[in-house]
Symmetry: C2
Subunit: 220 residues, 2 copies
């Protein structure tokens, strides 16, 4: 397998975590999202991924795009260890938690949207940070409320082993810290995030641990 990735892409980060949790070997092919206007927009990459987004997984000649689709694919092809519970209603809970992040927070705060706000709408840096924090809060508040109140929450988002919900949560909190979003009001999210980051699979998938990571804080 080959994963087209970028160290700071949280969508790619999700897939890296799942690969590590499942102990799967996968070649990494970095796609630099910022340098020279972004390698993801070049014809060579667009031929593989017409959306010009990372990640893309290539497995035996099959090209799979969209991080949630890749995660479900890995789960179906390599069921152990399971990242989804077995009962439909519990699977729905995990997917719903994951999608609060993947469908409601991340799409509004990713690079191309921040670039549009600056370049097309002339939004100031201060307003851009407010935008970023606003959508994070809109997603993380109900997520905290659910995880704090729902009985199925355990050491991780669902029970005592990591699921696709944790796979989405940890990269999103990485981004929250990167954009100076205060996490004091989110004790359950922080507790779960810490439990995850004690695991090798999460540590090995972190942006800073990637071969294409750039050392300087704040750099792209």
């Amino acid at each position: 397998m080959k994963l087209y990735t970028y160290w700071r892409s949280t969508a790619a980060y999700r897939v890296r975590i799942a690969l590590h949790l499942k102990g799967l070997r996968c070649e990494q092919e970095p796609v630099h999202l910022v340098k020279d206007g972004g390698e993801q927009h070049k014809g060579e990459y667009r031929a593989i991924n017409p959306q010009g987004l990372v990640p893309t997984l290539v497995d035996g000649g099959h090209v799979i795009t969209q991080s949630l689709a890749i995660l479900e694919y890995l789960e179906e092809k390599h069921p152990e260890p399971a990242l989804l519970p077995s009962k439909p209603v519990e699977r729905a809970r995990v997917r719903s938690l994951a999608q609060i992040i993947a469908c409601e927070v991340h799409p509004l705060n990713n690079l191309r949207v921040l670039q549009y706000l600056s370049n097309e709408l002339d939004v100031s840096d201060r307003q851009k940070t407010r935008w970023y924090h606003h959508w994070l809060e809109q997603g993380l508040k109900p997520l905290e409320r659910r995880l704090a109140n729902e009985g199925r929450t355990g050491r991780f988002c669902h029970g005592d082993s990591p699921t696709l919900a944790d796979v989405c949560l940890v990269p999103q909190l990485y981004n929250a810290r990167r954009f100076d979003f205060p996490l004091d009001a989110y004790p359950t999210l922080r507790r779960i995030d810490e439990a995850c980051r004690e695991l090798n699979a999460f540590r090995a998938s972190a942006p800073e641990a990637q071969p294409d990571a750039v050392g300087t804080a704040g750099s792209n």
Copy 2:
């Protein structure tokens, strides 16, 4: 089962289509997203869905939020007729097509985002329309390219029976037309959309066919 829905919510529209395709009975509980500042923000609804978004499905006391999670749940509980193919790589293709819409287009163009652009960023109506069209184009262009070029496309997005990709496509094209987005450059999407809308399940799920629909064109 009970579905909390709003006639013009495209996320609820997806779930209505799946329910109809599978021939499942489901009570509909309308949540008016605009009237009095939005019923979805009231405490009564937030107790069910802390995000304050539609749809929510309640099945035997279980509350399920996030439309893609609901669709997967319905697929697992009521596998026939199948809205996902059987092979992992084909399931991944369908999910990836669905997610181009559900994770990349819709989150940027839904009501709460358009309200933020107006209320917080003072964006003009013209700029708001450009925003709307821009993100539609960013999603629909690669979707058209993939559907036109990939061999697994058939009468529908994947083969000759509807899948979750069609369930997401038709509501998104409804919204595109509603916001005057020209669809001339998308012949494959239009062809599939028409094939879908010949089916009763899609017709019965359309916004205008809902009990809470408001008759006046352009009204909310």
